[in-house]
């Protein structure tokens, strides 16, 4: 089940951002490639307000995003029709993934999988468990890594992780394509991301490899294509129009994006009290 979505998005590590981004600029070649990847996505922006009196550098403006799409996802080994509604953020690292799956001849099934920092839980409705009597939040701590990985495997997550990893980020060329290799840390230590850039410096493929055998179930590949600004409020942030995730070469998710709002919309992920009180990794995902 979650293997399907696992491949969808990008990865996480608590504490990754404690590394000064400037460290990532130690090697000129690496700095050049990372900057090109960030610029291709539209991640770095600056303010001209203030005219000649101000010359602020650009900063990474990607924080919260919300996308909706349709396609298929894996359900018990079968690809079933799926509607996706995903909210995510990088400060804090969090995601809320709503899936409505409709198996052939079956009734639609709706699940909401949420993660923030070291907490993962399932919601019976958006925001469940925060107000007494409004829905049920079920802790799912065992799914923390997998859900965080989805966030970090997005193109923006890869670039953020690459800057944060500093000298540990390696840039290389494989089969004529530029490749960024980033070891994750924190909760995702033991996972390495390998991102392939296309001719426009857009990330076209991200592979998650498990250096630690205990994390082998997190290995996956996600392909991104048809980049454009898919937002209603245009921002010039480039987002993929199609996402295909594979595990062991088998497609577990295929999504066509309808909208992808990138203007840092109001998306919040407060952890319900019962989830905060739940012991780590005691429940299944």
């Amino acid at each position: 089940m979650t293997s399907a979505i696992r491949a969808t998005f990008v990865c996480a590590l608590v504490g990754i951002c404690a590394v000064t981004p400037a460290l990532a600029q130690g090697t000129p070649e690496r700095a050049k490639v990372l900057r090109a990847a960030a610029d291709a996505l539209g991640m770095g922006r600056w303010s001209d307000i203030g005219g000649a009196n101000t010359r602020l550098p650009g900063i990474d403006i990607v924080n919260t995003m919300e996308l909706q799409g349709s396609g298929t996802s894996d359900m018990g080994g079968r690809q079933v029709k799926t509607e996706f509604h995903i909210a995510l953020g990088y400060n804090p690292v969090a995601a809320r993934i709503e899936l409505t799956r409709t198996p052939d001849g079956g009734a639609a099934q709706h699940v909401i999988q949420t993660v923030r920092d070291t907490y993962a839980w399932n919601e019976s409705e958006v925001g469940a468990g925060l107000v007494s009597g409004k829905g049920v939040a079920t802790p799912a701590m065992a799914a923390v890594r997998e859900r965080l990985l989805r966030v970090w495997m997005l193109p923006y997550g890869v670039v953020k992780a690459a800057y944060a990893a500093g000298d540990k980020t390696v840039v290389s060329t494989e089969a004529g394509a530029t490749v960024i290799t980033v070891p994750l840390s924190g909760q995702l230590a033991g996972i390495t991301l390998k991102a392939t850039l296309d001719a426009k410096n857009l990330i076209s493929k991200v592979e998650a490899r498990a250096d630690n055998p205990a994390l082998a179930n997190l290995a996956c590949t996600v392909e991104y294509s048809n980049y454009a600004d898919h937002a209603e409020v245009l921002t010039d942030v480039q987002t993929p129009g199609r996402i295909v995730a594979k595990e062991g070469g088998r497609t577990v998710l295929d999504m066509t994006v309808k909208t992808w709002e990138t203007n840092n919309p109001y998306l919040v992920f407060p952890v319900p009290p019962n989830v905060k009180a739940a012991p780590a990794s005691t429940t299944s995902r």
């Binding site: 951002c17 404690a18 590394v19 000064t20 981004p21 400037a22 990532a24 600029q25 900057r35 960030a38 610029d39 991640m43 770095g44 922006r45 600056w46 303010s47 001209d48 307000i49 203030g50 005219g51 000649a52 009196n53 101000t54 010359r55 602020l56 550098p57 650009g58 900063i59 990474d60 403006i61 990607v62 924080n63 919260t64 400060n91 804090p92 409705e125 958006v126 925001g127 469940a128 925060l130 107000v131 409004k134 953020k160 800057y163 944060a164 209603e232 409020v233 245009l234 921002t235 010039d236 942030v237 709002e261 990138t262 203007n263 840092n264 919309p265 109001y266 998306l267 919040v268 407060p270």
Partner: protein, 314 residues
Amino acid sequence: MAVSRRVITTAAALCFATAAVFAQNPAPRTGPRTVNAPPKPTGTTPRAADGHPDLTGVWNGLGDNLNGVPNQIANNGIAIESETVARDLHSGQMVTVFPRLNNRPQNNEQAERAAALLRRSGSNRPIYKPEYWDMVKYNDHNANEEDPSNNCMPAGVPRGAIPSYIAQFPNHVMFVYPGQGGLIATQTMYRMIPTDGRKHTPLQELDGTYTGESIAHWDGDTLVVDSWGFNANTWFDQIGGYMHGENMHVIERFRRDGNTLTWTATVEDPDYLLEPWTTTPRVALLNPRPDAMLPESQPCSERDLAHIVTKEHH
């Protein structure tokens, strides 16, 4: 789109004109500002006859109010501390810095989109009850139509943030917030706030207003302004679509250190918020010129909103 660009251009021009008028500004500087981190205080803190810090002055120096344009990003929580280091003030998370590769100014569309992103990238967001999450998002998404401060209405409290002028008297303080004719078209606002120890009028006896009923007291060297009795016709920040109800209660804290004034506000609204929300501290600099004056506010007459054809907004 052409119309939208005209709107942006006009608004930006008016804003800069206003900023220029205000720019009888302090901080002698060589070259353009390359950081927006809060300014460090210098000088001594003057005191009133009663021993409390004297907040009197024109507080428009590279500050927080709408004319302190470089700090619009810092206002929303990202401090660019150097040309390689930026930090989210609320979470402490480092933010990647991208050096500018050339001096080419952005066109209006690029600048507008960048500003919209920059001002929303911080992490300090009020946590509403879940039933309002979609509404807040809708408000911000459609702010061109939904922002209650458009059409020259008052910004209200706490959105007004640091007043451009404060006059401190033994039994009250006077706050003045010049209106904006440009980028943010709002009405001039003033507040006369007693510091004589009086209590609030019971909430149910108040007709809600834009600035509410404010009373103030000193907590050590910090002026604490306690307000309630609001109407629901304002948002409590410039961005975000942060609506509130008539039971909103706001506690502002003003602290002067030398030539700086630091402001925070804590918003309580049990009808809308899951928990109280405190703004990221904002810091304004005192205009040091003894002849510093507030110029006349730009006349506010909203003519552009009806012509905006996209959802893009600042």
